[in-house]
């Protein structure tokens, strides 16, 4: 059973985000890039599937040179090989372009499962997985928190309002993985050591015949940081709770404009 895991690198959640000089991208200096946490669930699931059923895990990423670190990380955790589509300089790439690129590299490869994170931390679009599923013409289920893979079919569980939905379909299929699906493992030292020798297939995006600038679904006009947090206000209410509540409602309505 072969699995393909699509990963993207995102700024470490502890990084301080600054807007770049062009106003459309983030300033990348000093940013530490990590595998997007949701993709870690995808990788872990792929590793568990192949550990149980045999087969190989291939990690695929589309990104600039720095994105190779994410692939090495996947290889250190146990992925067997990796594919790096070099391109996508813009940090906030268009989901459809990404899906097209991935569909091109996946075409012709043998796989039973394609696993993605349910979204990329930061952009939070949740689009690449489903788009890729459509482009590949295979069944896809998003936001999976439970997965049983059988021979030629699978059952996936996903949280819906008020309950858990169970979906059955056939393989090959694409699944986007949500928190709760599993506990991603740490890289073992042996894995880190071995990662150096595992193959990373490098492909220039241009060689796939895709024009990165064409037909994008959206373009980034400008980026802004959220306004800085101002200090909180404490409404004293021990003596007269009713008055305090009224004051709170007033503040929420007039100042915060929340109600």
């Amino acid at each position: 059973m072969n699995c393909i895991v699509c990963v993207t690198s995102v700024p470490d959640t502890a990084s301080v985000i600054k807007i770049g000089t062009d106003g459309k991208n983030i300033d990348e200096t000093g940013i530490k890039w990590i595998v997007s946490p949701f993709d870690e669930y995808a990788l872990e699931e792929a590793l568990q599937i192949t550990e149980a059923k045999g087969g190989e895990v291939t990690a695929v990423t589309y990104g600039p040179a720095r994105a190779e670190a994410a692939l090495r990380d996947c290889l250190a955790r146990g992925a067997h090989k990796a594919v790096h589509v070099i391109g996508g300089e813009a940090t906030l790439g268009d989901s459809f372009t990404i899906a097209k690129v991935l569909a091109k590299v996946l075409a012709g490869r043998e796989y039973d499962c394609v696993l993605c994170g349910n979204k990329g931390v930061g952009t939070d679009c949740s689009q690449v997985g489903p788009m890729l599923g459509e482009l590949l013409g295979i069944p896809h289920v998003a936001n999976v928190t439970k997965l049983d893979v059988g021979d030629g079919s699978f059952t996936a569980g996903r949280e819906v309002e008020g309950g858990l939905e169970q979906v059955e379909s056939s393989l090959p299929a694409l699944l986007t993985c949500q928190k709760g699906l599993n506990e991603p493992r740490y890289a073992a030292l042996k894995g880190i050591m071995a990662a150096k020798r595992k193959p990373v297939d490098k492909i220039e995006v241009a060689s796939l015949g895709i024009d990165e600038a064409a037909d994008s679904f959206y373009t980034v006009r400008s980026l802004e940081l959220p306004p800085p947090k101002s200090g909180g206000t404490i409404i004293q209410g021990e003596d007269n709770p009713a008055a305090a509540a009224a004051q709170l409602v007033k503040a929420l309505r007039d100042e915060a404009k929340a109600i």
């Binding site: 301080v16 740490y186 890289a187 073992a188 880190i192 150096k196």
Partner: protein
Amino acid sequence: MDYKVDLRDVKFQLFEWLPTAKLLEAEKFADWDLENIEMVLDEAVKIAQQQMAACNEDGDRIGAQWNDGVVTLPESFHTAYQTVTEGGWIGLLANPEYGGMGLPEIIGTAVNEFFNGSNVAFSLTLMLTRGVGHMIEGFGTEEQKRLFVEKVLAGQWAGTMCLTEAQAGSDVGASKTKAVKNDDGSYQITGEKIFITGGDHDLTENIIHLVLARTPDAPVGTRGLSLFIIPKIKVNADGSLGESNDVYCNNIEEKMGIHGSPTCTLVFGQNDNCRGFLLGEEGHGMKLMFHMMNAARIDVGLQGCAAAGAAHQQALAYAHERLQSRSWKEMQNPEAPQVPIVEHPDVRRMLLSSKAYTEAMRAILLQTSYYLDMHHLLEGEESEKYKSYVELLTPICKAWCSEWGVQVTHWCLQVHGGYGYTSDYPAEQYMRDAEIACIYEGTNGIQALDFVARKLPMNGGKPIREILGAAEKTFQRAKSDSELMEPAWMLAAALKQIETISKELTKRPDAIQMVLLNAPPLLDMVGTVVGAHLLLDQAMLAKTKLAAILEEKGIGTQDKKAYKEFLTGHAEAAFYHNKVQTAIHFCYRALPTVAAKGAAIRSGERSPFFAIM
């Protein structure tokens, strides 16, 4: 509990300051390069933060529990232990032949700073287990290696070192535990060891004790001691576990800190059924044990550094959050708003001193680890040279770093005011957990005696002359830099002080008394000088790097306000700038204590001998 470490500084010291890249070119490290070494460090920090720090409070509050001879540790310790063993972290430095990873010592030291800083009580078991694995690998018979090494280095079985007895603490030679040879070559062990770290616990199915014991007609003192492998559960010839080996834990200590580390009294052979296996030769116990102790002494020094680093990061974050009092610039204005305490000069001084001592400790420990790597890599005279540096610096690593580690945790607690004293913040636990490093593995008093009586005169004084000679060279280089000139001259003055004192002291008729009385301040003086030398050396490097950034960005330093603004927005530049400020601060604040201590010693004051106590 959160754990933060200045990873940027660790990487600066490893990859920019020390020749780690060059070291990795050695055949022995063929599997490693800068890229995967960085992954090792990042993963170690992640485990430290997510697993070890996460159970540091459980360790402190729930602690180790003793019940009818059986010790249990908090559930969260088990999870963390599983992560560590699955990742192969105990065998980090060990020989790949036994499943180890064969990483250099300097990387082990960096990783162990993270582990010790995030949870020292937990990390003690790792340190001892690693130590036992290395000892059996180094000195065991083929059979012993086959039975124990791989399982211990994988963490499947844990390890301990058992020296201390009620009447034999610093005076290890007074040990009475008995070992009588059986017909089959094994030994019958009877006796009681106290204060044994990790003497019993439920993290592993077996525990392998390395125990110093005395054979029947052995000479008195340390020369009569032999070292034994004593498993808690007997091990069959095929490696499977047999029956209990009559090792009973009849008590664990209630203590100030490291509550997550059981400090056990172990009774060996109360039913005459405890068997031990000689490691090495009879009578060589102490000599062998020193191999484990020397490594452990560096590790214990690292505990001081790690506690300091963790406490500093936490205090720094707190100082940015806590609002209290007005800015000193608005002292006269009662209407002025409260500011974060990081703006108060005294708080800034405590924070910068904490940073400076932490980085000096880190430098000494990493430098010593680098010498250890060079000793292992090279052969002949060169190898011996590096070995002598390690021997000289080991008591400094242990005593200087543990002593100043506690001091830094004290400053960091003080930064918090009253909140630091409460258990709502980790400052007080850092302080309680750090104190023990001054005591075990030979008290700091014993370290100082080892330093002055054995290490200083070693090889006719050559190692100390060479280390201080390197400090002298740093002074020569730094004195031509206008910003570092004065700090450099302070280093020169401190060096002179040490030179004078060593000449004067040996000529005195009461030299022996004076040396015994003043061993700890003498060690502190040398430690401080070495710390200043390394920080100045780093500052010179940081200056070049900073200059390159400024040139690239076209930024001048003339306009102080604009320069400061630039630094605030540029983390890399600010890092290098701070390295320079840190070194300057250390030189001005720490080096004068060398002269002060020197003056006290040279005065010949001996009241402690005359006072009636």
